[in-house]
Protein backbone atom coordinates (compact mmCIF):
# COMPACT_ATOMS: atom_id res chain seq x y z
CA UNK A 1 0.00 0.00 0.00
CA UNK A 2 2.70 2.47 1.06
CA UNK A 3 4.76 1.42 -1.95
CA UNK A 4 1.89 2.18 -4.30
CA UNK A 5 1.25 5.56 -2.70
CA UNK A 6 4.93 6.43 -3.12
CA UNK A 7 4.88 5.24 -6.73
CA UNK A 8 1.82 7.37 -7.43
CA UNK A 9 3.43 10.44 -5.83
CA UNK A 10 6.64 9.84 -7.77
CA UNK A 11 4.63 9.68 -10.98
CA UNK A 12 2.90 13.01 -10.33
CA UNK A 13 6.21 14.65 -9.38
CA UNK A 14 7.84 13.30 -12.55
CA UNK A 15 4.98 14.71 -14.63
CA UNK A 16 5.28 18.15 -13.03
CA UNK A 17 9.04 18.16 -13.57
CA UNK A 18 8.53 17.08 -17.19
CA UNK A 19 5.98 19.86 -17.77
CA UNK A 20 8.37 22.45 -16.30
CA UNK A 21 11.37 21.22 -18.30
CA UNK A 22 9.28 20.78 -21.45
CA UNK A 23 7.73 24.26 -21.28
CA UNK A 24 11.12 25.84 -20.67
CA UNK A 25 12.53 23.95 -23.64
CA UNK A 26 9.62 25.03 -25.87
CA UNK A 27 10.09 28.66 -24.83
CA UNK A 28 13.83 28.63 -25.47
CA UNK A 29 13.30 26.91 -28.83
CA UNK A 30 11.08 29.79 -29.95
CA UNK A 31 12.49 32.04 -32.66
CA UNK A 32 11.07 35.00 -30.73
CA UNK A 33 13.88 37.29 -29.53
CA UNK A 34 13.09 38.11 -25.88
CA UNK A 35 14.99 41.39 -26.01
CA UNK A 36 13.07 42.47 -29.11
CA UNK A 37 9.79 41.46 -27.44
CA UNK A 38 10.77 43.46 -24.36
CA UNK A 39 11.77 46.70 -26.07
CA UNK A 40 8.85 46.44 -28.50
CA UNK A 41 7.94 49.85 -29.90
CA UNK A 42 11.10 51.46 -28.46
CA UNK A 43 13.24 49.30 -30.75
CA UNK A 44 14.30 52.30 -32.84
CA UNK A 45 15.67 54.27 -29.89
CA UNK A 46 17.75 51.41 -28.50
CA UNK A 47 21.20 50.65 -29.83
CA UNK A 48 22.81 47.28 -30.20
CA UNK A 49 25.01 48.01 -27.18
CA UNK A 50 21.98 48.45 -24.93
CA UNK A 51 20.43 45.30 -26.33
CA UNK A 52 23.61 43.48 -25.46
CA UNK A 53 23.42 44.87 -21.94
CA UNK A 54 19.83 43.66 -21.51
CA UNK A 55 20.75 40.24 -22.86
CA UNK A 56 23.72 40.06 -20.50
CA UNK A 57 21.65 41.21 -17.52
CA UNK A 58 19.00 38.56 -18.26
CA UNK A 59 21.65 35.89 -18.73
CA UNK A 60 20.57 35.26 -22.32
CA UNK A 61 24.18 34.67 -23.37
CA UNK A 62 24.62 31.79 -20.91
CA UNK A 63 24.26 28.19 -22.12
CA UNK A 64 20.65 26.87 -21.99
CA UNK A 65 21.32 24.42 -19.16
CA UNK A 66 22.78 27.14 -16.98
CA UNK A 67 19.80 29.39 -17.69
CA UNK A 68 17.42 26.60 -16.82
CA UNK A 69 19.27 25.89 -13.58
CA UNK A 70 19.11 29.56 -12.60
CA UNK A 71 15.42 29.80 -13.45
CA UNK A 72 14.50 26.52 -11.75
CA UNK A 73 16.42 27.62 -8.64
CA UNK A 74 14.36 30.80 -8.51
CA UNK A 75 11.12 28.85 -9.04
CA UNK A 76 11.97 26.73 -6.00
CA UNK A 77 12.14 29.87 -3.88
CA UNK A 78 8.79 31.03 -5.25
CA UNK A 79 10.20 33.59 -7.68
CA UNK A 80 8.74 33.07 -11.14
CA UNK A 81 10.36 36.19 -12.56
CA UNK A 82 8.93 39.46 -13.79
CA UNK A 83 6.01 39.67 -16.22
CA UNK A 84 7.08 41.92 -19.05
CA UNK A 85 3.67 43.08 -20.22
CA UNK A 86 2.22 43.80 -16.78
CA UNK A 87 5.46 45.00 -15.17
CA UNK A 88 4.77 43.03 -12.01
CA UNK A 89 6.15 39.77 -10.58
CA UNK A 90 4.55 36.78 -12.33
CA UNK A 91 3.31 35.48 -8.96
CA UNK A 92 1.38 38.71 -8.36
CA UNK A 93 -0.16 38.68 -11.85
CA UNK A 94 -1.17 35.02 -11.46
CA UNK A 95 -2.74 35.63 -8.05
CA UNK A 96 -4.70 38.68 -9.27
CA UNK A 97 -5.96 36.92 -12.37
CA UNK A 98 -6.66 33.63 -10.60
CA UNK A 99 -9.17 35.35 -8.31
CA UNK A 100 -11.26 36.54 -11.27
CA UNK A 101 -10.93 33.22 -13.10
CA UNK A 102 -11.78 31.23 -9.99
CA UNK A 103 -15.18 32.92 -9.73
CA UNK A 104 -15.87 32.30 -13.42
CA UNK A 105 -14.61 28.72 -13.58
CA UNK A 106 -16.20 27.60 -10.30
CA UNK A 107 -19.59 28.97 -11.34
CA UNK A 108 -19.38 27.29 -14.74
CA UNK A 109 -18.05 24.05 -13.23
CA UNK A 110 -20.82 23.73 -10.66
CA UNK A 111 -23.60 24.77 -13.06
CA UNK A 112 -22.51 22.44 -15.86
CA UNK A 113 -22.08 19.56 -13.42
CA UNK A 114 -25.44 19.99 -11.71
CA UNK A 115 -27.46 20.69 -14.85
CA UNK A 116 -25.62 18.10 -16.93
CA UNK A 117 -26.19 15.41 -14.32
CA UNK A 118 -29.85 16.30 -13.81
CA UNK A 119 -30.53 16.42 -17.55
CA UNK A 120 -28.60 13.17 -18.08
CA UNK A 121 -30.67 11.46 -15.38
CA UNK A 122 -33.87 12.70 -16.97
CA UNK A 123 -32.79 11.63 -20.48
CA UNK A 124 -31.62 8.21 -19.27
CA UNK A 125 -34.79 7.52 -17.27
CA UNK A 126 -36.93 8.56 -20.22
CA UNK A 127 -34.67 6.90 -22.82
CA UNK A 128 -36.33 6.73 -26.23
CA UNK A 129 -38.95 9.38 -25.51
CA UNK A 130 -39.03 12.87 -27.00
CA UNK A 131 -37.52 14.33 -23.81
CA UNK A 132 -34.49 12.08 -24.25
CA UNK A 133 -34.32 12.85 -27.96
CA UNK A 134 -34.45 16.60 -27.43
CA UNK A 135 -31.84 16.58 -24.65
CA UNK A 136 -29.44 14.29 -26.50
CA UNK A 137 -29.81 16.22 -29.74
CA UNK A 138 -29.05 19.41 -27.87
CA UNK A 139 -25.97 17.86 -26.25
CA UNK A 140 -24.61 16.45 -29.51
CA UNK A 141 -25.10 19.84 -31.15
CA UNK A 142 -23.28 21.68 -28.37
CA UNK A 143 -20.44 19.16 -28.49
CA UNK A 144 -19.68 20.34 -32.04
CA UNK A 145 -20.13 24.05 -31.37
CA UNK A 146 -17.07 26.33 -31.05
CA UNK A 147 -17.02 27.83 -27.53
CA UNK A 148 -16.21 31.33 -28.74
CA UNK A 149 -19.06 31.22 -31.25
CA UNK A 150 -21.57 30.34 -28.51
CA UNK A 151 -20.11 33.23 -26.51
CA UNK A 152 -20.49 35.60 -29.46
CA UNK A 153 -24.12 34.54 -29.93
CA UNK A 154 -24.92 35.18 -26.26
CA UNK A 155 -23.06 38.48 -26.40
CA UNK A 156 -25.02 39.59 -29.44
CA UNK A 157 -28.44 38.54 -28.14
CA UNK A 158 -28.20 39.59 -24.49
CA UNK A 159 -25.74 42.49 -24.56
CA UNK A 160 -26.20 44.08 -27.98
CA UNK A 161 -29.77 43.33 -29.03
CA UNK A 162 -31.49 43.18 -25.62
CA UNK A 163 -29.01 45.25 -23.59
CA UNK A 164 -29.56 43.14 -20.47
CA UNK A 165 -25.92 42.38 -19.78
CA UNK A 166 -22.69 44.40 -20.07
CA UNK A 167 -20.60 44.07 -23.24
CA UNK A 168 -17.45 43.03 -21.41
CA UNK A 169 -15.10 43.36 -18.46
CA UNK A 170 -15.40 42.12 -14.90
CA UNK A 171 -16.59 45.43 -13.42
CA UNK A 172 -18.36 48.48 -14.90
CA UNK A 173 -16.11 50.72 -17.01
CA UNK A 174 -14.46 53.41 -14.95
CA UNK A 175 -14.80 51.46 -11.71
CA UNK A 176 -11.78 50.12 -9.88
CA UNK A 177 -11.93 46.35 -9.30
CA UNK A 178 -12.06 46.87 -5.54
CA UNK A 179 -15.02 49.25 -5.69
CA UNK A 180 -17.48 47.17 -7.69
CA UNK A 181 -20.39 45.74 -5.74
CA UNK A 182 -21.11 42.03 -5.63
CA UNK A 183 -24.18 42.53 -7.80
CA UNK A 184 -22.13 44.31 -10.45
CA UNK A 185 -19.59 41.51 -10.46
CA UNK A 186 -22.26 38.85 -10.83
CA UNK A 187 -23.82 40.89 -13.63
CA UNK A 188 -20.51 40.80 -15.52
CA UNK A 189 -20.00 37.13 -14.74
CA UNK A 190 -23.36 35.99 -16.13
CA UNK A 191 -22.60 35.61 -19.84
CA UNK A 192 -19.09 34.13 -19.67
CA UNK A 193 -20.27 31.65 -17.04
CA UNK A 194 -23.34 30.81 -19.13
CA UNK A 195 -21.14 30.20 -22.19
CA UNK A 196 -18.85 27.79 -20.35
CA UNK A 197 -21.75 26.04 -18.62
CA UNK A 198 -23.63 25.54 -21.90
CA UNK A 199 -20.60 23.90 -23.51
CA UNK A 200 -19.71 21.95 -20.36
CA UNK A 201 -23.16 20.42 -19.97
CA UNK A 202 -22.90 18.27 -23.12
CA UNK A 203 -20.37 15.59 -22.09
CA UNK A 204 -21.78 15.21 -18.57
CA UNK A 205 -25.30 14.86 -19.95
CA UNK A 206 -24.35 12.21 -22.53
CA UNK A 207 -22.22 10.14 -20.17
CA UNK A 208 -24.79 10.25 -17.38
CA UNK A 209 -27.51 9.28 -19.82
CA UNK A 210 -25.45 6.30 -20.98
CA UNK A 211 -24.75 5.20 -17.40
CA UNK A 212 -28.43 5.50 -16.46
CA UNK A 213 -29.51 3.46 -19.50
CA UNK A 214 -27.04 0.73 -18.52
CA UNK A 215 -28.15 0.73 -14.88
CA UNK A 216 -31.82 0.61 -15.89
CA UNK A 217 -31.10 -2.51 -17.97
CA UNK A 218 -29.35 -4.25 -15.06
CA UNK A 219 -30.63 -7.26 -13.15
CA UNK A 220 -30.75 -5.44 -9.84
CA UNK A 221 -33.06 -2.78 -11.23
CA UNK A 222 -35.29 -5.49 -12.69
CA UNK A 223 -35.29 -7.17 -9.27
CA UNK A 224 -36.12 -3.93 -7.48
CA UNK A 225 -38.94 -3.32 -9.91
CA UNK A 226 -40.34 -6.79 -9.38
CA UNK A 227 -40.42 -5.97 -5.67
CA UNK A 228 -42.62 -3.02 -6.46
CA UNK A 229 -40.09 -0.18 -6.29
CA UNK A 230 -41.56 3.03 -7.74
CA UNK A 231 -39.60 5.14 -10.27
CA UNK A 232 -38.71 7.80 -7.69
CA UNK A 233 -37.32 5.26 -5.24
CA UNK A 234 -35.57 3.50 -8.11
CA UNK A 235 -33.68 6.68 -8.99
CA UNK A 236 -32.91 7.49 -5.39
CA UNK A 237 -31.75 4.06 -4.23
CA UNK A 238 -30.46 2.24 -7.31
CA UNK A 239 -29.61 4.67 -10.11
CA UNK A 240 -28.29 7.86 -8.54
CA UNK A 241 -25.07 6.56 -7.08
CA UNK A 242 -24.16 4.30 -9.98
CA UNK A 243 -24.81 7.01 -12.53
CA UNK A 244 -22.87 9.57 -10.49
CA UNK A 245 -19.52 7.83 -10.90
CA UNK A 246 -18.88 8.68 -14.58
CA UNK A 247 -20.23 12.21 -14.10
CA UNK A 248 -17.90 12.84 -11.15
CA UNK A 249 -14.82 11.48 -12.91
CA UNK A 250 -15.63 13.42 -16.05
CA UNK A 251 -16.29 16.65 -14.21
CA UNK A 252 -12.95 16.52 -12.40
CA UNK A 253 -11.10 15.44 -15.53
CA UNK A 254 -12.64 18.28 -17.52
CA UNK A 255 -11.02 21.07 -15.48
CA UNK A 256 -8.28 21.40 -18.09
CA UNK A 257 -10.87 21.59 -20.84
CA UNK A 258 -12.76 24.19 -18.79
CA UNK A 259 -9.60 26.29 -18.55
CA UNK A 260 -9.23 26.08 -22.35
CA UNK A 261 -12.83 27.24 -22.64
CA UNK A 262 -12.21 30.11 -20.23
CA UNK A 263 -9.38 31.32 -22.49
CA UNK A 264 -11.94 31.73 -25.28
CA UNK A 265 -14.80 33.03 -23.15
CA UNK A 266 -12.55 35.60 -21.46
CA UNK A 267 -11.38 36.74 -24.90
CA UNK A 268 -14.98 37.18 -26.13
CA UNK A 269 -16.14 39.05 -23.03
CA UNK A 270 -12.78 40.79 -22.32
CA UNK A 271 -12.95 39.32 -18.84
CA UNK A 272 -9.62 39.93 -17.06
CA UNK A 273 -8.85 36.44 -15.81
CA UNK A 274 -6.06 33.91 -16.21
CA UNK A 275 -7.28 32.97 -19.69
CA UNK A 276 -7.04 36.52 -20.94
CA UNK A 277 -3.57 36.79 -19.39
CA UNK A 278 -2.55 33.59 -21.22
CA UNK A 279 -3.69 34.99 -24.57
CA UNK A 280 -1.94 38.31 -23.94
CA UNK A 281 1.24 36.58 -22.77
CA UNK A 282 1.36 34.52 -25.97
CA UNK A 283 0.43 37.40 -28.26
CA UNK A 284 2.94 39.80 -26.70
CA UNK A 285 5.60 37.19 -26.08
CA UNK A 286 5.83 37.42 -22.32
CA UNK A 287 7.87 34.25 -21.70
CA UNK A 288 8.06 34.35 -17.85
CA UNK A 289 4.30 34.77 -17.56
CA UNK A 290 3.63 32.00 -20.09
CA UNK A 291 5.90 29.63 -18.15
CA UNK A 292 4.15 30.51 -14.90
CA UNK A 293 0.74 29.86 -16.48
CA UNK A 294 1.91 26.51 -17.87
CA UNK A 295 3.01 25.41 -14.39
CA UNK A 296 -0.12 26.64 -12.64
CA UNK A 297 -2.50 25.01 -15.15
CA UNK A 298 -0.59 21.71 -15.01
CA UNK A 299 -0.94 21.75 -11.21
CA UNK A 300 -4.66 22.52 -11.53
CA UNK A 301 -5.20 19.63 -13.96
CA UNK A 302 -3.19 17.11 -11.92
CA UNK A 303 -4.89 18.18 -8.67
CA UNK A 304 -8.27 17.89 -10.40
CA UNK A 305 -7.45 14.34 -11.49
CA UNK A 306 -6.35 13.39 -7.98
CA UNK A 307 -9.54 14.83 -6.47
CA UNK A 308 -11.54 12.99 -9.11
CA UNK A 309 -10.02 9.69 -7.99
CA UNK A 310 -10.75 10.35 -4.32
CA UNK A 311 -14.36 11.40 -4.95
CA UNK A 312 -14.85 8.50 -7.37
CA UNK A 313 -13.70 6.15 -4.62
CA UNK A 314 -16.12 7.79 -2.18
CA UNK A 315 -19.02 7.37 -4.62
CA UNK A 316 -18.03 3.88 -5.72
CA UNK A 317 -15.77 2.10 -3.19
CA UNK A 318 -14.87 -0.49 -5.86
CA UNK A 319 -12.87 2.18 -7.69
CA UNK A 320 -9.26 2.39 -6.61
CA UNK A 321 -7.87 5.72 -5.47
CA UNK A 322 -4.45 4.82 -6.82
CA UNK A 323 -5.10 3.04 -10.10
Amino acid sequence: MLGRVLLRALRVVSLVVAVVVGSFWLMSASPVDPVQAYVGADAASIGSEQREQIAERWGLNDPPLERFAAWAGNVFTGDLGQSQIYGEPVVVVLADRAAASLALMTTAWVLSGVFGFAMGLLAGMRAGTWVDRALSWWAYLLASAPTFWVGLLLLYVFSVALGWTPVGGAVPTGTLPGEASLLERVHHLLLPAATLSLIGVAPVLLHTRQAVVEVMASDYVAFARSQGEQPFGLVLHRVLRNAAAPAVVLQFASIGELFGGSLLAEQVFTYPGLGEATTQAALRQDVPLLLGIAMVTALIVLTGNAFGRVVHHAVDPRASVLA
Partner: protein
Protein backbone atom coordinates in the same frame (compact mmCIF):
# COMPACT_ATOMS: atom_id res chain seq x y z
CA UNK B 1 -30.28 20.52 -39.66
CA UNK B 2 -31.96 17.26 -40.58
CA UNK B 3 -28.48 15.74 -40.79
CA UNK B 4 -28.37 15.81 -37.03
CA UNK B 5 -31.37 13.54 -36.76
CA UNK B 6 -29.11 10.51 -37.24
CA UNK B 7 -28.08 10.73 -33.64
CA UNK B 8 -31.68 10.67 -32.58
CA UNK B 9 -32.19 7.46 -34.54
CA UNK B 10 -29.18 5.94 -32.80
CA UNK B 11 -30.52 6.86 -29.41
CA UNK B 12 -33.93 5.50 -30.19
CA UNK B 13 -32.35 2.28 -31.43
CA UNK B 14 -30.03 2.08 -28.45
CA UNK B 15 -33.02 2.42 -26.20
CA UNK B 16 -34.78 -0.24 -28.26
CA UNK B 17 -31.89 -2.65 -27.77
CA UNK B 18 -31.70 -2.21 -24.04
CA UNK B 19 -35.43 -2.60 -23.58
CA UNK B 20 -35.47 -5.73 -25.72
CA UNK B 21 -37.36 -4.34 -28.73
CA UNK B 22 -36.63 -5.97 -32.12
CA UNK B 23 -33.93 -4.37 -34.23
CA UNK B 24 -34.74 -3.15 -37.70
CA UNK B 25 -31.53 -4.50 -39.26
CA UNK B 26 -31.38 -3.72 -42.96
CA UNK B 27 -33.22 -0.42 -42.77
CA UNK B 28 -30.76 0.89 -40.24
CA UNK B 29 -27.71 -0.10 -42.27
CA UNK B 30 -29.18 1.55 -45.37
CA UNK B 31 -29.92 4.70 -43.41
CA UNK B 32 -26.40 4.86 -42.00
CA UNK B 33 -24.98 4.44 -45.51
CA UNK B 34 -27.25 7.18 -46.76
CA UNK B 35 -26.16 9.68 -44.09
CA UNK B 36 -22.56 8.73 -44.70
CA UNK B 37 -23.00 9.45 -48.41
CA UNK B 38 -24.79 12.74 -47.77
CA UNK B 39 -22.13 13.89 -45.30
CA UNK B 40 -19.25 13.01 -47.65
CA UNK B 41 -20.99 14.75 -50.56
CA UNK B 42 -21.63 17.94 -48.62
CA UNK B 43 -18.05 18.09 -47.32
CA UNK B 44 -16.71 17.50 -50.84
CA UNK B 45 -19.16 20.13 -52.08
CA UNK B 46 -17.69 22.65 -49.63
CA UNK B 47 -14.18 21.94 -50.91
CA UNK B 48 -15.21 22.22 -54.57
CA UNK B 49 -17.23 25.39 -53.97
CA UNK B 50 -14.35 26.93 -52.04
CA UNK B 51 -11.95 26.19 -54.89
CA UNK B 52 -14.36 27.80 -57.36
CA UNK B 53 -14.74 31.02 -55.37
CA UNK B 54 -11.23 31.24 -53.90
CA UNK B 55 -10.20 33.67 -56.64
CA UNK B 56 -12.80 36.27 -55.77
CA UNK B 57 -13.04 35.66 -52.02
CA UNK B 58 -10.65 38.51 -51.19
CA UNK B 59 -12.23 41.04 -53.58
CA UNK B 60 -13.17 44.21 -51.76
CA UNK B 61 -16.19 46.30 -52.72
CA UNK B 62 -16.25 49.37 -50.50
CA UNK B 63 -19.60 50.83 -51.70
CA UNK B 64 -21.28 47.50 -50.88
CA UNK B 65 -19.70 46.99 -47.47
CA UNK B 66 -21.51 45.83 -44.33
CA UNK B 67 -24.51 44.64 -46.34
CA UNK B 68 -26.84 42.29 -44.49
CA UNK B 69 -27.61 38.90 -46.07
CA UNK B 70 -29.49 39.16 -49.36
CA UNK B 71 -29.97 36.98 -52.46
CA UNK B 72 -26.84 38.68 -53.89
CA UNK B 73 -24.64 37.83 -50.94
CA UNK B 74 -26.29 35.09 -48.90
CA UNK B 75 -24.05 35.64 -45.86
CA UNK B 76 -23.80 39.43 -46.35
CA UNK B 77 -20.57 41.39 -46.72
CA UNK B 78 -17.95 42.53 -44.21
CA UNK B 79 -16.47 45.95 -43.46
CA UNK B 80 -14.40 45.84 -46.67
CA UNK B 81 -17.30 44.63 -48.78
CA UNK B 82 -15.92 41.12 -49.11
CA UNK B 83 -18.49 38.36 -49.64
CA UNK B 84 -18.80 36.53 -46.29
CA UNK B 85 -20.09 33.32 -47.89
CA UNK B 86 -17.07 33.09 -50.19
CA UNK B 87 -14.69 33.77 -47.32
CA UNK B 88 -16.50 31.22 -45.16
CA UNK B 89 -16.15 28.54 -47.84
CA UNK B 90 -12.44 29.23 -48.28
CA UNK B 91 -12.04 29.25 -44.48
CA UNK B 92 -13.81 25.90 -44.18
CA UNK B 93 -11.55 24.41 -46.84
CA UNK B 94 -8.54 25.66 -44.89
CA UNK B 95 -10.00 24.09 -41.74
CA UNK B 96 -10.46 20.78 -43.55
CA UNK B 97 -6.88 20.86 -44.84
CA UNK B 98 -5.55 21.63 -41.35
CA UNK B 99 -7.81 18.94 -39.90
CA UNK B 100 -6.68 16.33 -42.44
CA UNK B 101 -2.96 16.89 -41.97
CA UNK B 102 -3.32 17.08 -38.21
CA UNK B 103 -5.50 13.97 -37.98
CA UNK B 104 -3.17 11.96 -40.22
CA UNK B 105 -0.15 13.03 -38.18
CA UNK B 106 -1.80 12.25 -34.85
CA UNK B 107 -3.15 8.95 -36.19
CA UNK B 108 0.36 7.86 -37.23
CA UNK B 109 1.81 8.83 -33.83
CA UNK B 110 -1.00 6.97 -32.04
CA UNK B 111 -0.40 3.78 -34.09
CA UNK B 112 3.36 3.83 -33.48
CA UNK B 113 3.00 4.45 -29.75
CA UNK B 114 0.29 1.79 -29.39
CA UNK B 115 2.50 -0.77 -31.15
CA UNK B 116 5.38 0.22 -28.89
CA UNK B 117 3.15 -0.16 -25.82
CA UNK B 118 1.90 -3.60 -26.87
CA UNK B 119 5.17 -5.01 -28.24
CA UNK B 120 7.53 -3.24 -25.86
CA UNK B 121 6.69 -5.24 -22.76
CA UNK B 122 6.26 -3.61 -19.36
CA UNK B 123 8.80 -0.87 -19.98
CA UNK B 124 7.26 0.09 -23.32
CA UNK B 125 3.78 0.20 -21.85
CA UNK B 126 4.93 2.29 -18.86
CA UNK B 127 6.74 4.80 -21.07
CA UNK B 128 3.75 5.22 -23.40
CA UNK B 129 1.32 5.64 -20.48
CA UNK B 130 3.61 8.23 -18.96
CA UNK B 131 3.78 10.13 -22.26
CA UNK B 132 -0.02 10.08 -22.53
CA UNK B 133 -0.31 11.41 -18.98
CA UNK B 134 2.25 14.11 -19.74
CA UNK B 135 0.35 15.37 -22.78
CA UNK B 136 -2.90 15.35 -20.81
CA UNK B 137 -1.33 17.19 -17.88
CA UNK B 138 -1.67 20.61 -19.51
CA UNK B 139 -4.99 22.01 -20.75
CA UNK B 140 -5.03 21.18 -24.46
CA UNK B 141 -5.34 24.79 -25.57
CA UNK B 142 -2.42 25.87 -23.35
CA UNK B 143 -0.24 23.09 -24.79
CA UNK B 144 -1.20 24.20 -28.31
CA UNK B 145 -0.29 27.79 -27.47
CA UNK B 146 3.12 26.75 -26.08
CA UNK B 147 3.93 24.67 -29.17
CA UNK B 148 2.80 27.28 -31.71
CA UNK B 149 4.83 29.81 -29.73
CA UNK B 150 7.90 27.57 -29.91
CA UNK B 151 7.42 27.22 -33.67
CA UNK B 152 7.06 30.95 -34.17
CA UNK B 153 3.36 30.98 -35.11
CA UNK B 154 1.65 30.91 -38.49
CA UNK B 155 -0.34 28.32 -40.40
CA UNK B 156 2.29 25.56 -40.51
CA UNK B 157 2.96 25.96 -36.78
CA UNK B 158 -0.75 25.42 -36.09
CA UNK B 159 -0.85 22.27 -38.22
CA UNK B 160 2.20 20.83 -36.46
CA UNK B 161 0.94 21.79 -33.00
CA UNK B 162 -2.43 20.16 -33.64
CA UNK B 163 -0.84 17.06 -35.20
CA UNK B 164 1.49 16.42 -32.25
CA UNK B 165 -1.13 16.87 -29.51
CA UNK B 166 -4.23 14.92 -30.57
CA UNK B 167 -2.92 11.35 -30.24
CA UNK B 168 -3.27 10.53 -26.49
CA UNK B 169 -6.87 9.30 -26.47
CA UNK B 170 -6.56 7.27 -29.66
CA UNK B 171 -3.31 5.77 -28.34
CA UNK B 172 -5.16 4.58 -25.24
CA UNK B 173 -7.92 3.01 -27.36
CA UNK B 174 -5.45 1.31 -29.73
CA UNK B 175 -3.30 0.05 -26.84
CA UNK B 176 -6.34 -1.50 -25.16
CA UNK B 177 -7.38 -3.27 -28.39
CA UNK B 178 -3.79 -4.33 -29.09
CA UNK B 179 -3.37 -5.83 -25.62
CA UNK B 180 -6.58 -7.79 -26.05
CA UNK B 181 -5.39 -9.19 -29.39
CA UNK B 182 -1.90 -9.90 -28.07
CA UNK B 183 -3.39 -11.95 -25.24
CA UNK B 184 -5.65 -13.98 -27.56
CA UNK B 185 -5.24 -17.64 -28.48
CA UNK B 186 -4.47 -17.17 -32.15
CA UNK B 187 -1.52 -14.93 -31.33
CA UNK B 188 -0.24 -17.50 -28.82
CA UNK B 189 -0.56 -20.24 -31.47
CA UNK B 190 1.17 -18.11 -34.07
CA UNK B 191 4.06 -17.48 -31.68
CA UNK B 192 4.17 -21.18 -30.76
CA UNK B 193 4.42 -22.03 -34.47
CA UNK B 194 7.64 -20.03 -34.51
CA UNK B 195 6.45 -16.86 -36.23
CA UNK B 196 8.52 -13.78 -35.35
CA UNK B 197 7.24 -10.72 -33.51
CA UNK B 198 7.22 -8.63 -36.68
CA UNK B 199 5.16 -11.27 -38.48
CA UNK B 200 2.67 -11.38 -35.59
CA UNK B 201 2.47 -7.60 -35.38
CA UNK B 202 1.90 -7.26 -39.14
CA UNK B 203 -0.45 -10.20 -39.69
CA UNK B 204 -2.40 -10.34 -36.43
CA UNK B 205 -2.11 -7.01 -34.65
CA UNK B 206 -2.36 -4.38 -37.37
CA UNK B 207 -5.50 -5.83 -39.06
CA UNK B 208 -7.34 -5.52 -35.74
CA UNK B 209 -6.06 -2.01 -35.13
CA UNK B 210 -6.83 -0.62 -38.59
CA UNK B 211 -10.62 -0.17 -38.20
CA UNK B 212 -10.12 1.53 -34.82
CA UNK B 213 -7.35 3.64 -36.27
CA UNK B 214 -9.35 4.86 -39.27
CA UNK B 215 -12.44 5.67 -37.22
CA UNK B 216 -10.36 7.27 -34.49
CA UNK B 217 -8.53 9.40 -37.04
CA UNK B 218 -11.75 10.65 -38.61
CA UNK B 219 -13.22 11.38 -35.17
CA UNK B 220 -10.08 13.39 -34.34
CA UNK B 221 -11.03 15.78 -37.11
CA UNK B 222 -13.75 17.74 -35.28
CA UNK B 223 -11.42 18.37 -32.34
CA UNK B 224 -8.60 19.41 -34.65
CA UNK B 225 -10.84 21.81 -36.58
CA UNK B 226 -12.29 23.35 -33.43
CA UNK B 227 -8.83 23.81 -31.92
CA UNK B 228 -7.56 25.42 -35.11
CA UNK B 229 -10.51 27.81 -35.07
CA UNK B 230 -9.95 28.57 -31.38
CA UNK B 231 -6.26 29.37 -31.89
CA UNK B 232 -7.05 31.56 -34.89
CA UNK B 233 -9.76 33.32 -32.91
CA UNK B 234 -7.27 34.18 -30.17
CA UNK B 235 -4.93 35.59 -32.84
CA UNK B 236 -2.37 32.83 -32.25
CA UNK B 237 -3.20 30.62 -35.23
CA UNK B 238 -3.70 31.08 -38.94
CA UNK B 239 -2.19 34.33 -40.28
CA UNK B 240 -4.78 37.07 -39.66
CA UNK B 241 -4.69 37.98 -43.36
CA UNK B 242 -6.10 34.60 -44.43
CA UNK B 243 -9.83 33.88 -44.37
CA UNK B 244 -10.09 31.33 -41.54
CA UNK B 245 -13.32 30.99 -39.56
CA UNK B 246 -11.57 31.86 -36.30
CA UNK B 247 -10.01 34.97 -37.84
CA UNK B 248 -13.37 36.03 -39.30
CA UNK B 249 -15.14 35.65 -35.97
CA UNK B 250 -12.40 37.60 -34.19
CA UNK B 251 -12.87 40.40 -36.74
CA UNK B 252 -16.64 40.26 -36.33
CA UNK B 253 -16.29 41.26 -32.66
CA UNK B 254 -15.36 44.76 -33.75
CA UNK B 255 -18.66 45.38 -35.50
CA UNK B 256 -20.96 43.28 -33.33
CA UNK B 257 -22.16 46.31 -31.38
CA UNK B 258 -23.01 47.95 -34.71
CA UNK B 259 -25.56 45.16 -35.21
CA UNK B 260 -23.66 43.26 -37.94
CA UNK B 261 -24.76 39.90 -36.57
CA UNK B 262 -24.25 37.99 -39.82
CA UNK B 263 -20.47 38.36 -39.59
CA UNK B 264 -20.44 36.24 -36.43
CA UNK B 265 -23.49 34.01 -36.70
CA UNK B 266 -23.25 32.60 -40.22
CA UNK B 267 -19.54 31.60 -40.47
CA UNK B 268 -19.77 30.03 -37.00
CA UNK B 269 -22.90 28.14 -37.97
CA UNK B 270 -21.18 26.88 -41.14
CA UNK B 271 -18.25 25.65 -39.04
CA UNK B 272 -20.65 23.90 -36.66
CA UNK B 273 -22.35 22.13 -39.59
CA UNK B 274 -19.04 20.98 -41.10
CA UNK B 275 -17.77 19.71 -37.74
CA UNK B 276 -21.04 17.85 -37.27
CA UNK B 277 -20.81 16.37 -40.79
CA UNK B 278 -17.28 15.07 -40.26
CA UNK B 279 -18.42 13.63 -36.95
CA UNK B 280 -21.28 11.92 -38.82
CA UNK B 281 -18.79 10.41 -41.27
CA UNK B 282 -16.72 9.02 -38.40
CA UNK B 283 -19.58 7.53 -36.41
CA UNK B 284 -21.19 6.10 -39.57
CA UNK B 285 -17.99 4.32 -40.59
CA UNK B 286 -17.72 2.94 -37.06
CA UNK B 287 -21.32 1.77 -37.13
CA UNK B 288 -20.71 -0.01 -40.45
CA UNK B 289 -17.31 -1.47 -39.52
CA UNK B 290 -18.29 -2.56 -36.03
CA UNK B 291 -22.08 -2.75 -35.63
CA UNK B 292 -21.74 -3.73 -31.98
CA UNK B 293 -20.22 -0.38 -31.06
CA UNK B 294 -23.65 1.15 -31.53
CA UNK B 295 -25.10 -0.97 -28.78
CA UNK B 296 -22.48 -0.26 -26.17
Amino acid sequence: MSLLVRNLDDLALDAGVTSGAPLPGRGRRARTLMWLGVAVLVVLGVVVAATLVSGSAGDTDLPGRNASPSPDALFGTDRLGRDVLERTLVGLRLSLVVGTSAALGSGAIALLLALAAVAGGRVGAAVVTWLVDLFLALPHLVLLILITFALGGGTSAVVIAIAVTHWPRLTLVLTAVGREVAASDHVAISLALGHGRVHVARRHLVPHLLPQLSVGTVLMFPHAILHEAALSFLGLGIDPGLPAIGVMLAESMRSLSAGHWWLAVLPGLALLVVVKLVDTIGTSIRALADPRSHHL
